[in-house]
Subunit: 210 residues, 2 copies
């Protein structure tokens, strides 16, 4: 079983190190975040750090690394207060991944890919039309992470659009049926084709334990 000690991790070559550390936490969500600047420039960028933070109020968080292209996303959210989260599905993986390229703010990723900007219900930020699950988000707060200078940005869900036949009678959204991707590391995309739901767990009775 390969073993990476702390010393070994610190001495790894840069690309090897970021691949290893980015893939060691498990599968990650695959989302496109859509924003629009006050001057009207649209932006859409791939993120793998969108995390469920709580259901009441409904809060999602994601992480920004200040020195990357992600700055357009951050600036637009700070300027306007609104953004969209759109799930990446199998049918547009390549275009979604291409949004990681570093374009200047004046060039919209909607213009250089087949992704389509869509406005719904007068919400300020653009959705990704091709996405099976789209969420309208409003900025809430942010945390500057001391350990590494990243920013955790939290937003509240304003509304959710889900493609037909994905929501079960108990509210569960079937991401496999939506052909939604999960991200492995920096550049791996897996599309689970099936899944199972397990029941709510209670302690086992009659344990022969003292």
């Amino acid at each position: 079983m390969p073993y990476f000690s702390k010393d070994k991790i610190e001495s790894l070559e840069h690309i090897y190190r970021i691949n290893l550390i980015n893939s060691c936490s498990g599968f990650k969500s695959a989302n496109l975040i859509g924003t629009k600047s006050v001057s009207g420039f649209e932006n859409v960028a791939v993120f793998s750090s969108v995390t469920h933070m709580g259901s009441q109020p409904p809060i999602l968080g994601f992480l920004l690394r200040p020195i990357t292209v992600i700055r357009n996303t951050y600036e637009n959210i700070k300027e306007t207060g609104f953004y969209t989260i759109n799930h990446i599905a199998e049918s547009f993986l390549e275009d979604a991944h291409h949004t990681s390229a570093k374009y200047p703010k004046e060039i919209s990723e909607f213009e250089v890919t087949n992704l389509t900007s869509e406005y719904k219900n007068d919400f300020y930020a653009p959705f990704v039309k091709e996405s099976p699950i789209k969420i309208a988000m409003k900025y809430v707060e942010e945390y500057a992470i001391k350990a590494n200078g990243t920013i955790l940005l939290l937003g509240e869900i304003q509304s959710i659009f889900v493609a037909d036949d994905l929501v079960s009678s108990d509210g569960f959204i079937d991401l496999s049926a939506a052909r939604v991707a999960a991200i492995n590391g920096l550049d791996g995309y897996a599309v689970p084709t099936s899944q199972q739901r397990l029941t709510y767990q209670r302690p086992k009775e009659n344990l022969n334990l003292i």
Copy 2:
């Protein structure tokens, strides 16, 4: 396309609401966090919020909801400073999910499931023997999230153990080959059977844009 407005989300029945909001952020990582109290009681619990926070230093974060069974995990980490993150694989999904049952601190989930506690290299906290990817973690810092009272806990990777044949020559860990699960919502487990890696993206040239 089903639409959930803010008002509708607020008026949803509790179970429907938590299923919807927990599954709307995309696939989540599937991990078991192993801890041991100062008095020697082992604990292992399923978490779906482990997130890559940065590679240099190598930091992973996860979210704790103070009013759940997760408290054993939090108390043990705060008391001892150490914990382990172990990926959940297809072969032990049911046992991993069962660790979500609320057992008292004196009963270890290792005793009531087929999961096996394992100690490696004198690290204080127990690993899960069956897991293909195991990470030794040291507490770094935490953030109290104002929006909902949860806690974001950050730790630094101390070492990583990866099963044979999972690490590519560039450091990428193939989670699909490991049969590692992704979590959908509160109780859905998907195991991607294949995946693709896409290349590093640079802006397209010769764009016909003004």
